[in-house]
């Protein structure tokens, strides 16, 4: 007999070893997320995928699906909280969507739209964050880093460990693996997975800006729920 969980009352099958996120995605249920990527080990840090499992808050990307779990996902309370968490990410960094090349392709922005985020709600931190334009092909703007560690995980898989998160608490920062601390002196190549995985506009490829015009971008026609499920169910090319 297939094992099942329920999400918002809907019965969903799962396989032993799957996380709640994986079981949900396979069944076409979108759970908002930013630090999760189906090809990498889950991190569980952004907390957008928080769901209520048998009355307890858990991150769907790390928590195993277990027989009989009753899970709440698409509720007003959870989406209100997710909106607040997204707003936290917006005020922590310096995100100026209208002037950002990633606009329309940005997962942070798309999640904001999905959650009906209309303002930043919290006070801005206005933290000075450094930009590194030293690399010939890749630009890193720390103003937009949300510490999801996807670039760290990807670069580790690339065998280069170019990126790391250093510091503690609100003083966390993205650092590069070179003696000078500059991106140009690392092993980063423009074709590395790490250069393309950023869910926000923190890591951008140079000389490709606006080659896809606004209006024809990833999230212009589809919500992040649709694109994410397409991707995670393997409908993406490559």
């Amino acid at each position: 007999m297939t094992k099942t969980i329920t999400i918002d009352g809907k019965t969903i099958p799962f396989e032993e070893g799957q996380t709640i996120m994986e079981a949900a995605a396979a069944a076409g249920v979108y759970i908002p997320h930013l630090c999760h990527h189906p090809e990498y080990a889950p991190h569980g840090s952004c907390k957008l995928c928080s769901v209520t499992v048998n009355g307890r808050s858990c991150t769907a990307c790390t928590f195993p699906a277990l027989e009989g779990q009753e899970i709440l996902n698409d509720t007003k309370e959870l989406n209100d909280s997710r909106r607040r968490i997204t707003q936290m990410l917006f005020v922590e960094g310096n995100h100026l969507c209208p002037g950002c090349e990633k606009s329309g392709n940005c997962q942070l922005q798309a999640v904001g739209y999905y959650l009906n985020m209309l303002d930043n709600h919290f006070l801005h931190f206005f933290q000075p964050r450094e930009l590194d334009a030293s690399h010939p092909d890749v630009l890193v703007d720390r103003n937009r880093c949300i510490f999801c560690t996807l670039c760290v995980r990807a670069s580790h898989r690339d065998g280069k460990d170019v990126f790391a998160i250093s510091g503690r608490g609100i003083n966390k920062r993205l650092i590069f693996n070179s003696e000078s601390g500059l991106l140009k002196d690392t092993d980063l190549d423009v074709n590395d997975q790490a250069a393309h995985i950023c869910p926000t506009g923190a890591i951008l490829i140079k000389r490709t800006g606006f080659t896809v015009p606004i209006g024809e971008r990833l999230f212009d026609d589809k919500t992040i729920a649709e694109t994410s499920l397409d991707y995670e169910r393997g409908d993406h090319d490559g």
Partner: protein, 594 residues
């Protein structure tokens, strides 16, 4: 330097998991972690340099830029503030001609604040190059400043500056009857290890760190794991402000604590144990090493312990100033030489702990109690306490009372009894369990110490009527923002937002709606944070808001909106640039008519 680093790395077998211990020694020698050392270590261990920088920037006691040859830190615990810490620090800064947070121009001395150093019964306290300084007053500061200015080596400083009192004010069941060395192990082998585990189970002993998980169950889970390589870890990272009982247990009863660890190792089948000692207790390090040495000599540690074919040894790992490492999975990360970021659970440490192997992590007091139970039996322990909370609890009492110190009580004792015993009068309220615990008001002193009522790791801070609730909330909220590891969004951003929101109200800029916003934010952090730090970081706000809502409302201005910053204050730079300070150069907040 090259030779020093090479020898140091070799001493630690060039092991990555020793990184934090290696960096501690480099910091002690050079008073920072030089770039050259990072490059060399990344080659020797070998690990990416970013791993090393990540660790340096995570721990408060490690620095990428030089500190003074005398690194002075002053404890920023609320109890230190209650004893005049602020004025004393200012006096010290003036005496030494160095600003707080800075290094003196000649590089001789640096001064900064640090989170609670666990000397709350004998503060204001501080540290010099990691060694605890107690009972600071003007006279002692004069002497310290003089010693530094004369460049007197630390070894030649008078011992009384470093004297740490154990101040055991009220011993109970456990503290009155310390065990004879080896007695717990002998009893256990005589009774049989399985029977001893059953005895501990029957005693009802629950984890003394505060969470209260049944000790025997944890040990049984670990013993039941298929992996044969297992570890025993003693959590002596007592960073909860107001707690110092583990320091006293380790200073006065180290044998019994180590014996509890050895007992656990015999039961779960571990060959290696660790004492994770918080960096603030560096003064105990050599002493504890000596105790371990004595135990090896006595056949109570090492190979073939008591000729029972038990092999087990204990290493001491030092922390480096991170409250989060008291969380068991963060502590394990730290033991592995990494930044102390709590892991995702499941899996739990008992199945995937140190190096991914089954690991028992218990509090100092838990091991201390377990060895006494092995000797005296389950009934001896269980006859004391309540039905759900067997035995006694050791409390660290500080704040406004005549006799701060260590008190041991049977579970079920009321707070009023505790207050009477330590000589507390005119009490406004008591913080039970430190900032992450609960603030109780004078209406609740009939409440009981017990897992089912007031669960606590042992921190009890008393406030008399002269204290201000907002000073308490302000200090604690800043503490959590400082100690958040930054892993998850709700805690990393939320604790800093909470700090800003508390400051806004504290400084008198709050307006209608700000208290509601404060509560909403607090709930969000509590529910969605990754670990116990975030889940309890809003407790100071939420528990006082629940008890004194009118106090918060009275702090608010009677206008409908107030910006989150001081408008006039923000113009200060402009005034300085324009070199004018007349009335027209000042602005009041719009609508601010009172």
């Amino acid at each position: 330097m090259k030779q020093f680093i090479q020898d140091l790395a070799e001493k630690h077998n060039n092991q990555e998991k020793q990184l934090l211990q290696i960096l501690r020694e480099i910091q002690a020698c050079y008073h920072y972690i030089p770039e050259q050392a990072i490059e060399q270590l990344s080659g020797l261990l070998p690990i990416p340099r970013t791993r090393i920088i990540g660790v340096v920037e995570f721990y408060s006691f490690l620095h990428l830029s030089p500190r003074g040859q005398y690194e002075l830190l002053i404890s920023d615990c609320l109890t230190d503030h209650m004893r005049g810490k602020k004025k004393l620090t200012a006096y010290l800064a003036e005496k030494l001609d160095v600003a707080v947070g800075a290094v003196r121009k000649d590089g001789l001395v640096s001064l900064d604040n640090t989170s609670c150093t666990g000397m709350c019964d004998q503060g204001p306290a501080g540290m010099v190059n990691g060694y605890a300084l107690t009972r600071l007053d003007r006279a002692r500061i004069d002497r310290i400043a003089d010693l530094i200015n004369r460049r007197e080596p630390l070894a030649a400083w008078p011992a009384d500056l470093f004297y740490v009192d154990d101040s055991i004010a009220k011993p109970g069941l456990l503290l009155k009857q310390p065990i004879v060395q080896g007695a717990a192990l002998r009893s256990a082998f005589k009774r049989g290890l399985k029977a001893t585990l059953a005895e501990i189970d029957q005693s009802g002993l629950r984890g003394r760190g505060g969470a209260g998980f049944k000790t025997a169950m944890k040990w049984a889970f670990c013993a039941g794991e298929a992996q044969s390589e297992r570890y025993v870890v003693c959590n002596a990272d007592e960073g909860e402000p107001g707690t110092f009982k583990d320091r006293v247990l380790l200073n006065s009863f180290a044998h019994q604590v180590f014996e509890g660890m050895t007992l656990c190792a015999a039961i779960v089948g571990a060959r290696q144990g660790f004492l994770y000692l918080r960096g603030e207790y560096l003064h105990l390090y050599e002493y504890l090493q000596e105790i371990l040495h004595q135990r090896r000599q006595a056949g109570l540690l090492g190979t073939n312990i008591l000729r029972e074919e038990l092999d087990f040894d204990i290493d001491i790992h030092l922390g480096a100033g991170a409250y989060i490492c008291g969380e068991e999975s963060a502590l394990i990360e730290s033991l592995e030489g990494k930044a102390g970021i709590p892991r995702n659970r499941p899996p739990y440490p008992v199945t995937h702990g140190y190096l991914g192997k089954p690991t028992v992590v218990n509090n100092v007091e838990t091991f201390f109690a377990a060895s006494a139970i092995a000797v005296n039996g389950a009934d001896w322990f269980a006859q004391v306490g309540t039905e759900k909370s067997a035995g006694t609890k050791i409390l660290s009492i500080s704040g406004d009372c005549a006799r701060p110190g260590i008190y041991e009580y049977a579970f079920g004792t009321t707070i009023q009894t505790v207050l009477n015993d330590c000589g507390a009068t005119d009490v406004l309220g008591v913080q039970i369990g430190g900032p992450s615990g609960t603030f109780i008001s004078s209406q609740e002193f009939d409440r009981k110490l017990a897992f089912e009522d007031l669960a606590t790791g042992g921190s009890v801070i008393i406030f008399n009527e002269s204290r201000n609730i907002f000073d308490i909330v302000h200090n604690f909220t800043h503490f959590f923002a400082h100690e958040s590891c930054g892993f998850c969004t709700p805690c990393r951003v939320g604790t800093s937002l909470l700090k800003k929101q508390v400051d806004k109200i504290y400084e008198g800029h709050g307006s209608a709606g700000d208290v509601a916003a404060l509560e909403e934010l607090g709930q969000l952090i509590r529910v969605y944070s990754h670990c116990g730090l975030g889940q309890t970081a809003a407790n100071p706000v939420l528990t006082t808001l629940e008890r004194y809502p009118e106090l918060y409302q009275n702090k608010l201005k009677k206008i409908s909106y107030e910006p989150g910053f001081d408008l006039d204050g923000a113009l200060d730079i402009a005034r300085r640039l324009a070199q004018r300070d007349d009335a027209a150069a000042h602005l009041s907040q719009v609508g601010d008519h009172d």
